[in-house]
Amino acid sequence: MVVILRRLGVYVLAAWVAITVSFLLPRVVPGNPVAGAVARASQSGNCNEQCVLAVEEQLGYNVHTPLWDQYVQYLGNLVHGDLGHSWSENAPVGSLILSFLPWTLVLLGLGTTLSFLAGSAIGTLVAWRRGSSVELMLPAATFFQSLPYFFLGLVIVLIFGQTGTMLRWFPSLFGYDIFAVTPGPNLPYIQSVLSHAILPAATVVLASLGGFILAIRNQVITTMDEDFVLVAQAKGLRTRTVVWYAVRNALLPVVANFTIAISLVVGGQILVEIVFNYPGIGFHLFDALGKLDYTLVQGIFVVITLVVLAANLLADLVYVAIDPRARQAA
């Protein structure tokens, strides 16, 4: 338990660093980029005086209280879920993000899980059948893991997307058909959401699959040389049991290094959402960047960080669950 608490401490610290960076940046960087944003806010028709004031306060522009007081207030607001006010949408950032988040979380959860499972299976197969034709997967995996997520997204749109020019099999714009269906618990909406998720999810899976295949292949090969696998073979166990012995152990370092993987997938997915105009937080981050809506940018950054930290914590819990040595220490 102590150990999990220690990890939790690291994540709390990481969250605090991220929050502080997002607080300080608009206030300390030279050239005052915030001024432009506030000016835009007040000139854009959809942000009234109150709205402009809220933006100024959140970004520390034209505010004459000491920095420390601003910081305390910023943190206090965060605790209450108040991430400021977005001038471009004229809505509280918190509720905006709450509406974007499900899209991202579903895509992320689905993509990572599928990719991890498929990667484990293929990686194990490649390691186990060393020297057979399955090894041709390796150069392919290397190439695929070298493709930037968003570029793969563009290629997939071109080939399979309805906004592309080739097969036009699946929708490749937005999270659902915004013209034909009404959001809500109705069948056409659900069908539309599912069909729109196919290509973005496929992109995330394909782009992250190669990395998982290679990581797990290397670990399985290393583990297969361990004595306990030899003993499992000497015990006359079925091949699938022997494979399971190796894989169970090979997964440990992969899960322990999940931090880096999840960080990469999240980064990649932000860009995939942009390519597909998929209404998650990545797409809206891009949108907010374009509109110089710094309040929204700030809020989205904080929330993405929290999501990643939560995923890390989950990976830690999984690690503790699958490694008895860690369980004992934890």
Partner: protein
């Protein structure tokens, strides 16, 4: 992007096989595999383009081609009689002779842009990687070497940076720093800040393991200062890891740069310095101007493919480094090709050592003794294939008799373990059994199990599985590694019983497992323990209990007590010999400790450099050795009683199997070596009419036998540790 650097974090284990990094003199030598060559080639091509690309472009990347000016297309629903004024939109040209990769919608030459943008892309990638690597070396090495509170603090910082997602942080940083876009140096610095932590953590772990290596302590003991230890002793050993980190970070930085340029945060070619394109910027322009919808793939696909190609090149180089760091990865793939070349069918069944079909040495007619349970005839084993093969075991004959203990003695590299595991077909790639015959005469103790004679080298996986463990069980030296660390001891018994005793219920299996543990003096509760919760002695007992679970006819004991303390060793041996008396299995006991073997074996075989050199009843071998090597070996164990006298041991070192001496492999260390010994390999043959055999020219053709090798045979007696004789 790669997440495949997990091997980097792996700390090489201590011990004689200590980290592969430590096995070689060169700091970093990439294996000459096709992968590495391809990687080097790709990276070199891109490097060249980066160096000269900007100056060999056919067109200026920003210039519009006025001669082939953009084609214009009428927007549907405008002009003509639509009532709207005619409106046109531009269309880019596809690839042509004038424009190899076509043009952009602004009639700029894509090929020129691609060439010109390589430089900035690679420059930012390399600069960011250089900064990040420098940061991570400073952080990682000082944290790892200094340790204590410094380590805690620095590690915490690295862990915090690692937990914050890199790209979002990068986006926010790049977004808020307005001058970032105009300076690729600033962009590189910001990217470095978001990518250094992973390498720092890896380097810290590696430094930590190096710091406790004996050679660092030795330098400290000799009075070396801290700075010099870090610079001259530790850093050179980190070079492979640093190189891998650098490549990994370069890759990560290029992706990051392309990503933020795609978002429009990486500076624009119209900013300063002017005309500085990068691949991400090209992708952004294409995406922003509907190149995907328009199907103008030539515009945005080339930069994306370039990123992927460069990434593949760097990843391939990284494989080379990974294989240098972790040589286990290297044999993968290469072996299959080498085997094919040598004409050996590897087959697809993993867990079965292949038997070469090429030129089998004529197998001696099997003169099966009535009480033989395991017979090995003319067994030869190679590691590797064809010309590279190392002959680890050569033409060995061995007969294990029912209910007896056969000792197999030899030093490291003598092939004793290889011989035993080859008989079970348990050796892994790149081992090949090149010749021989292994006959198992099965007379199961239990009603189940195969009966009659089985040729193990001809058996398939299915047949082997029936014999393995149920009739021939194996106990290895290190029981820590022999037990699966992530499941309980009980589950490992259960796996075994479920396969071989399918009729037992789960409860019965549990009860039986408990009985077995109690048989070796352990509490049945230990079934619930994980291997790491048991001491070394307990794990070895559990392993022995497991080996006995199916009442095998043969136990192969490979240095079962070497890793244990003497008291535990003695307890376990007593237990084992008692069980042998009770259950009647035969044992092949492999060890380097001849003095121990004399106490417990009925018969002893001595191996040297892959060959069996002497075989005799234990007491005969001890009191009247016939082989110079055995004689020397027996003189390597100082006695526990009597007057202390200087002893000589054996001069020289055991030979390297890759470079064996001619003739008898022992001749350079033999005090009685004759001319003939340097030329001809002696074969195992009976000597003085008794049941013992020796492979030595001193006992052939009337040679003068030294007095030391001609002591009279002692009276036979049972091995000391045998409680009763059958």
């Amino acid at each position: 992007m790669t997440i495949d650097t997990t091997a980097l974090a792996k700390i090489p284990p201590a011990g004689p096989a200590a980290g592969p990094v430590l096995q070689r003199g060169r700091i970093l030598r990439l294996p000459r595999s096709p992968k590495v060559i391809a990687g080097l080639f790709i990276v070199a091509v891109f490097g060249l383009i980066a160096l000269i690309g900007r100056w060999v472009v056919p067109y200026s990347p920003n210039a519009t081609d006025s001669q082939n000016w953009v084609q214009h297309v009428l927007v549907p629903g405008t002009g003509g009689d639509s009532g709207f004024p005619a409106s046109y939109y531009p269309l880019p040209y596809g690839p042509s002779a004038a424009h190899w990769l076509g043009t952009t919608v602004f009639a700029q030459d894509v090929w020129s842009q691609l060439l010109a943008s390589t430089q900035a892309t690679m420059f930012v990638g390399l600069l960011a990687a250089a900064i990040a690597t420098a940061l991570s070396i400073i952080f990682g090495v000082s944290a790892g070497y200094i340790g204590g509170a410094t380590d805690e603090g620095l590690s915490l910082i690295a862990n915090v940076f690692l937990a914050i997602p890199g790209l979002p942080l990068l986006i926010v940083l790049a977004d808020y720093v307005p001058s970032a876009g105009s300076s690729i140096f600033l962009v590189a610095a910001i990217i470095a800040v978001t990518t250094w932590a992973y390498s720092a953590r890896t380097l810290r772990a590696q430094t930590l393991s190096l710091r406790n290596r004996d050679f660092v302590e030795a330098a400290r003991v000799s009075g070396e200062g801290r700075t010099r230890i870090i610079l001259a002793e530790i850093l050179p050993n980190l070079v492979p890891i640093v190189a891998a980190s650098f490549l990994f970070t370069t890759l990560a930085a290029i992706y990051a740069y392309v990503a933020i340029s795609f978002l429009g945060l990486g500076g624009s070619p119209t900013g300063s310095p002017a005309g500085l394109w990068n691949w991400g910027e090209m992708l952004r322009e294409g995406f922003a101007n509907n190149a995907v919808r328009g199907g103008w793939w030539w515009w945005w696909a080339p930069p994306g493919i370039c990123v992927a190609l460069l990434g593949t090149g760097l990843a391939l180089l990284n494989f080379g480094i990974d294989e240098f760091i972790n040589p286990r990865l290297r044999t993968a793939g290469l072996t299959a090709r080498a085997a094919k070349k040598a004409g050996i069918k590897l087959g697809t069944a993993v867990g079965v050592t292949p038997v070469a079909s090429i030129s089998p040495i004529a197998v001696k007619p099997a003169t099966s003794a009535a009480d033989a349970v395991l017979e090995i005839h003319g067994l030869s084993v190679d590691y590797g294939y064809g010309a590279e093969a190392v002959h680890a075991v050569m033409n060995c004959d061995l007969v294990l008799r029912r209910g007896r203990v056969l000792g197999l003695a030899g030093e490291s590299g003598s092939g004793k373990t290889t011989l035993a595991l080859a008989a079970m077909r348990l050796l892994r790639q790149p081992a090949v059994i090149t010749s021989g015959q292994v006959l198992f005469h099965s007379r199961p103790f239990t009603g189940e199990g195969p009966k009659g004679t089985i040729d193990l080298l001809a058996a398939g996986l299915h047949q082997l599985r029936e014999v393995r463990w149920s009739e021939i069980a194996v106990v290895l030296q290190s029981s820590l590694n022999a037990l699966n660390p992530v499941i309980t001891v009980g589950a490992q018994f259960d796996d075994l019983l479920r396969v071989h005793r399918p009729k037992l219920s789960a409860l019965d299996r549990w009860a039986r497992s408990g009985e077995l543990l109690e048989m070796v003096g352990m509490n049945a509760d230990r079934l619930r323990s994980y291997p790491h919760e048991l001491s070394g002695g307990m794990r070895q007992r559990a392993m022995i209990a497991m080996a006995l679970a199916l009442e095998p006819q043969v136990m192969i004991l490979d240095e079962p007590t070497t890793a244990l303390d003497v008291v535990t060793q003695r307890e376990i041996l007593e237990e084992l010999m008692g069980l042998r008396d009770r259950l009647g299995f035969a044992a092949l006991f492999i060890t380097h400790d001849l003095s121990l073997l004399v106490e417990l074996a009925d018969e002893i075989a001595v191996m040297y450099a892959g060959r069996l050199m002497e075989r005799a009843p234990a007491a005969s071998l001890f009191h009247a050795p016939r082989l110079p090597y055995t004689h020397g070996l027996l003189n390597c164990f100082p006695p526990m009683h009597g007057k202390r006298v200087p002893m000589e041991g054996i001069p020289g070192s055991p030979p390297d199997l890759r470079d064996l001496p001619s003739g008898c492999a022992f001749h350079p260390r033999c005090r009685w070596a004759m001319d003939r010994c340097t030329r001809e390999v002696p074969q195992l043959a009976p000597v003085d009419g008794s049941g013992r055999e020796v492979a030595c020219w001193l006992h052939r053709d009337g040679a003068q036998v030294p007095a030391e090798l001609a002591r009279p045979e002692p009276a036979q007696r049972p091995a000391l540790m045998r409680v009763s004789e059958q």
